[in-house]
């Protein structure tokens, strides 16, 4: 465990970047430092591997002051990932990744085969091994940065805004990849970001810092969203904190209706039977059961259903797996106000109304907020 014990950093020009910060960073989980620009996140992170030395206070690694061991030994036991990856442009990808193992005295071949193993782990095609950094996209370079930090299998990983320079789609991919890798490797990760969504998505624990380098709140993300410690944290979480909190409620309890679903080859009797006063619309699926769109029953003529004339069905959520947030999103996006639930293969599993989702939300709020990171 990393313990930050009442640490202050005063830069030579008098700037107090971190002010009496105390944090207990749990093992084998992701702790996110988040806060507005200039609040001392980077400074805090860099004090852990002694790229910055604290002015006051101590940092303990497994109970031992980090000042006790030679600085380069300490740093080699911690992976370090920075914003633009910081790859060595004169070295090939595989040699970039092999850097720390080589520094630790591994043979060239062992280090390289380890590097290739890591490329696979972070989702990089083996054909990129012999390329140079300039021949990679920003997202790929960032993956190399992560692989390089993991190469010598350090127990600790320090990451400073590693995904902030890539576009949102690539960023989401990298975040998912990190969660997957973390599931496999169980590192102690300290992750800096200024993006609260990223913090909530990745963090097991989230430390919100305020300008002046002070800790505003240290809590699991669900608790942060339900109980912000003060106005600053609430402001920082943003206006739709309530909606985002729904990410922590599973959709598993939602009652799904299967009656208002017909296949594209439905008979007139089926269409008549499935429409009802409760559900003004029918969801039409293809022959495999995948949703095509909504329609009022009276607009459907058996044998002549034209998929392109159906109303769009918005974005379906995966039943059992996705959160209430995804379910609500699906209902809001659907012009009928009904969300479509699908199974793992994308086949319609049922439909659910905004009203039903609303009741589920009220029920979930009444119960204690779930802490599990299910359904995001």
């Amino acid at each position: 465990m990393i313990r930050i014990d009442s640490v202050t950093k005063r830069y030579p020009d008098g700037t107090v970047a971190v002010d009496r910060l105390s944090l207990e960073i749990p093992d084998r989980s992701i702790t996110v430092l988040v806060g507005p620009s200039g609040c001392g996140k980077t400074t805090t992170l860099r004090m852990i591997n002694r790229m910055v030395e604290p002015s006051e206070g101590r940092i303990l690694l497994d109970g031992v002051d980090i000042m006790q061991q030679p600085v380069n030994t300490l740093r080699r036991s911690m992976g370090y990932v920075i914003q633009n990856a910081g790859l060595f442009q004169h070295r090939t990808i595989v040699d970039n990744i092999a850097t720390v193992p080589r520094m630790l005295g591994w043979g060239k071949d062992v280090a390289r085969s380890r590097a290739r193993e890591l490329m696979e782990r972070v989702g990089l095609d083996a054909s990129l091994a012999k390329r140079y950094p300039y021949q990679l996209s920003g997202g790929q370079q960032q993956r190399v940065g992560v692989a390089r930090a993991l190469a010598a299998d350090p127990p600790v990983l320090l990451m400073d805004e590693p995904f902030s320079a890539v576009d949102p789609v690539v960023r989401k991919g990298l975040q998912d990849e990190l969660l997957r890798i973390q599931e496999e490797l169980g590192k102690t990760i300290v992750f800096v970001t200024h993006d609260i969504d990223e913090a909530v998505k990745l963090g097991t624990m989230v430390a919100v810092m305020r300008t002046g380098g002070r800790l505003a709140q240290f809590a699991p993300p669900a608790e942060l969203l339900s109980n912000p410690a003060d106005d600053f944290v609430e402001d920082f979480l943003g206006a739709d904190r309530g909606i985002r909190r729904l990410s922590f409620f599973p959709s598993a309890g939602l009652e799904l209706l299967t009656t208002p679903i017909v296949a594209v080859d439905a008979t007139a009797e089926q269409i008549a039977a499935r429409g009802s006063a409760d559900v003004p619309y029918l969801l039409v699926t293809d022959l495999d059961g995948r949703p095509l769109g909504w329609s009022e029953p009276r607009d459907l003529t058996a044998g002549q259903i034209e998929p392109e004339r159906l109303l769009p069905y918005g974005r379906p959520f995966v039943a059992e797996r996705d959160s209430l947030r995804a379910a609500l999103d699906g209902a809001v996006l659907s012009p009928t106000g009904w969300a479509v639930a699908v199974d793992g293969e994308g086949r319609a599993a049922g439909v659910v109304s905004q009203q039903t989702i609303g009741e589920a939300i009220r029920g979930a709020h009444a119960a204690a907020p779930v802490d599990a990171k299910a359904g995001r």
């Binding site: 860099r46 080699r76 370090y80 004169h90 070295r91 300039y134």
Partner: protein, 222 residues
């Protein structure tokens, strides 16, 4: 064309290819002066440039010294050294070295300063020793610029080393000085042509060194 005739006459005269005043000897002498002066300039300029560039300290002082050194006229300096030190190689070498140090020093410093700080930060963060950061991270990336500094120093030395002939040393300057004295313009033009050829050869050598030592990853992105 007169000049072409001179060149043709100079190079086709068999006598010019033999003996202590023959082309091979003079070219070799010239190369020796050049290598010596460049070697000394590099031995002084590279370490200082690398170190100041790496630490980022002393840049202003460097610029000042370099400007001052550039202001010194090579020929005047040689005559002064000749008066002070008497006959010898030192009065020839000193002005050549003084001429070569500023481009080596300043370009090396600038090259090191222009290295992207992110990989350097990453290297330190992964526990690389300071010397390794300099030689394994910064230097390979700064190399093309450093080589260009050495190259312009070398070219300047090649063309200026002709002054050695004024204090009775050899090299290609011999042809020019003697030619002028003997009003043998064939010789003068021949000597000047050889200097130009040697300068071009120097460019070629540096191009080859660059191909061999600069990583493809740096060449293509730089």
């Amino acid at each position: 064309m007169n000049v072409l005739n001179f060149i043709n006459a100079f190079f086709s005269d068999n006598a010019h290819w033999q003996g202590y005043d023959g082309i091979p000897t003079r070219v070799l002498e010239h190369i020796q002066y050049t290598l010596m002066a460049l070697g000394i300039a590099a031995a002084v300029g590279l370490p200082i440039g690398l170190l100041t560039g790496h630490t980022g300290r002393g840049g202003n002082t460097l610029a000042l010294i370099a400007t001052a050194a550039r202001a010194l006229p090579s020929f005047g300096l040689m005559v002064l050294m000749f008066v002070l030190l008497g006959l010898g190689l030192a009065p020839v070498m000193i002005p050549l070295v003084v001429l070569a140090i500023p481009p080596v020093l300043v370009t090396t410093y600038e090259a090191m300063r222009s290295v992207d700080p992110a990989p350097v930060d990453a290297a330190r963060g992964m526990g690389m020793a300071e010397a390794e950061v300099l030689f394994r991270v910064e230097l390979p990336v700064a190399l093309p610029l450093i080589l260009s500094g050495l190259r312009s120093a070398a070219i300047q030395i090649v063309s200026t080393a002709t002054i050695a002939a004024y204090v009775s040393f050899g090299g290609l300057g011999r042809y020019i000085v003697d030619g002028l004295y003997q009003r043998d313009y064939e010789k003068v033009v021949g000597g000047a042509t050889l200097v130009a050829v040697l300068a071009l050869a120097t460019l070629g050598v540096f191009w080859a060194v660059g191909r061999l030592t600069v990583s493809r990853g740096v060449r293509r992105s730089g």
